[in-house]
């Protein structure tokens, strides 16, 4: 597994933010809310969620819009949106550097930023990307070069609560059923390390706050 690192409250003006890196992939997530909402987006029974993803180079195109939609649908399941009706929660993700794991870095950054902002969630979530080589070996957190060489790449987002059920799944390339099971299982195991990392980071944050 690649090295995970995270800095909480990286931005001073947003309600919560996190700079998250997996190997050479770095994403910065900022969360604002629950706050003001445009009248057209005002929902009477829940909070409106907005995700904005901006790439490190170039303009936001179809790929980014598709990523936004995946991240939004994932986060939506975790946040207790019904607690804040007629408000909006904005999540902005800036890709800083990418080496093939843009999706998992930004999902994890979003989760940490939400924790930092203190938004009520029913579960935390962690994304793990893996790829499978032509020889059938599963590589967790591959690099861009390894993904290019591989036959298929898959990203899974797991819930921390319960039996680590799958929130989101995304796959590129063909896989046999057995290989798919192997990928899913190994990612599930790897997600436990990510959750342990989340715990260490938040513990550190609250310890520092208690001391100061």
């Amino acid at each position: 597994m690649a090295q995970h690192a995270c800095e909480l409250s990286f931005l001073s003006r947003s309600d919560g933010s996190a700079l998250y890196s997996i190997g050479l992939n770095v994403a910065l997530a900022s969360v604002n809310g629950p706050g003001d909402v445009k009248v057209s987006n005002r929902l009477y029974n829940r909070s409106h969620l907005e995700v904005c993803y901006s790439p490190s180079t170039g303009h936001s195109m179809i790929r980014e819009r598709a990523l936004e939609s995946i991240i939004m649908r994932t986060v939506e399941q975790a946040i207790l949106v019904h607690l804040h009706p007629r408000t909006a929660i904005n999540i902005t993700i800036q890709e800083m550097q990418s080496d093939g794991l843009a999706l998992s870095a930004s999902v994890n950054a979003a989760c940490m930023a939400l924790l930092d902002a203190g938004i009520q969630m029913k579960t935390t979530f962690a994304a793990v990307t893996c790829c499978i080589t032509p020889a059938g070996t599963v590589i967790i957190d591959p690099t861009e070069a390894e993904i290019q060489e591989s036959v298929a790449e898959a990203t899974f987002v797991f819930e921390s609560s319960g039996e680590a059920s799958v929130l989101t799944a995304h796959q590129d390339g063909r896989l046999s059923y057995e290989d798919f099971k192997k990928c899913l299982h190994q990612c599930q195991v790897a997600s436990r390390d990510v959750f342990a990392f989340y715990r260490r980071m938040t513990e550190k944050k609250y310890q520092n706050e208690a001391e100061s």
Binding site: I62, R63, R65, A66, E68, S69, I70, M72, R73, T74, V75, E76, Q77, A152, A154, V157, E159, E163, S165, V166, L167, T168, A169, H170, Q171, D172, G173, R174, L175, S176, Y177, F180, K181, L184, H185, Q188
Partner: protein, 277 residues
């Protein structure tokens, strides 16, 4: 208004739940029954290939236009396949006029992902002369009536239309660097694989519905789309958030989806054969 309609209008959740308690859906289907599929190919005569697909009330039309373009510098011997999904307000009040919404973009990306992951056809087969000319296939999918499960309907329409495509033969003269199109001689595309998708809606931890209608999608929380190939391998699995599932359920979905692959592909073959007669 009958009392049943009143119930449906004022208490849609309890109305729907009562059906599920009896393992039925409001349209009379069981929880793991698919809707009938109706396919017609060659419905747009001005396009190189086309198909209209009905999945229950969901109606989707796919037209493929071919144009000759210049290959990119990075891939000088590859053509292009550009799927694009249009969801106009006439098919459902869910969609608004204007630039494509989240659902349309998600669907276009999904189709593109399936074509590349499954290697439906090799981009190099679309090349006419390296660095000079290559075919660009614009696959436009338009939804005419929306009643749920756009993923399955649009993939069936796209695959049927691709199998219906007839491209005119093009000869390339190296000396004059000119391409001549002979419209009287046409060739079909060489499709390598035929992926079939199956979509499930998650209602609760224990209840999942196959081939959801618009009502099922509204009542449920999120969909899972499983795309399988004829040999049973997994082309892609698409689950953009929604209710979480344990991996045992994924196995159940994949097993249900396996049975559907043959069914859908033979329906497409039948439609193509009908056209030829």
């Amino acid at each position: 208004m009958t009392s049943l309609q009143v119930w449906r209008t004022f208490e849609p959740d309890s109305y729907y739940k009562t059906f599920l308690e009896h393992s039925k859906r409001p349209d009379g289907r069981g929880l793991s029954n698919f809707r009938p599929i109706n396919i017609k190919v060659g419905t747009v005569t001005t396009a190189e290939g086309s198909a209209t697909v009905r999945l229950g009330h969901t109606t989707v039309m796919c037209g493929i236009k071919a144009e000759i373009a210049t290959p990119t510098l990075r891939h000088p011997d590859e053509g292009f396949i550009v799927p694009n999904v249009e969801l106009y307000p006439c098919c459902s009040p869910m969609f608004k006029a204007g630039p494509p919404g989240e659902k349309a973009i998600g669907l276009s990306q999904f189709l593109k992902n399936v074509i590349t992951s499954a290697e439906v056809l090799l981009p190099s087969d679309l090349c006419i002369a390296p660095n000079k000319f290559a075919w660009c296939l614009y696959c436009d999918v338009v939804c005419l009536n929306y009643d749920g499960n756009l993923y399955d309907a649009s993939l069936i329409a796209l695959m049927a239309a691709l199998q219906n495509v007839l491209l005119p033969e093009v000869s390339y003269d190296e000396e004059s660097e000119k391409a001549t199109v002979s419209p009287e001689r046409t060739l079909p595309l060489k499709l390598k694989r035929r992926p079939v998708s199956s979509t499930f809606t998650m209602y609760s931890d224990s209840i999942q519905l196959v081939d959801p209608t618009a009502e099922d999608e509204e009542q449920g929380s999120g969909e899972v789309t499983v795309v399988l190939l004829e040999d049973g391998s997994l082309c892609t699995i698409h689950k953009p958030g929604g209710h979480s599932i344990v991996s045992d359920f994924l196995d159940k979905f994949i097993n249900l989806a396996r049975k559907r692959v043959k069914l859908v592909n033979s329906a497409i073959c039948k439609a193509l054969a009908e056209r030829k007669v």
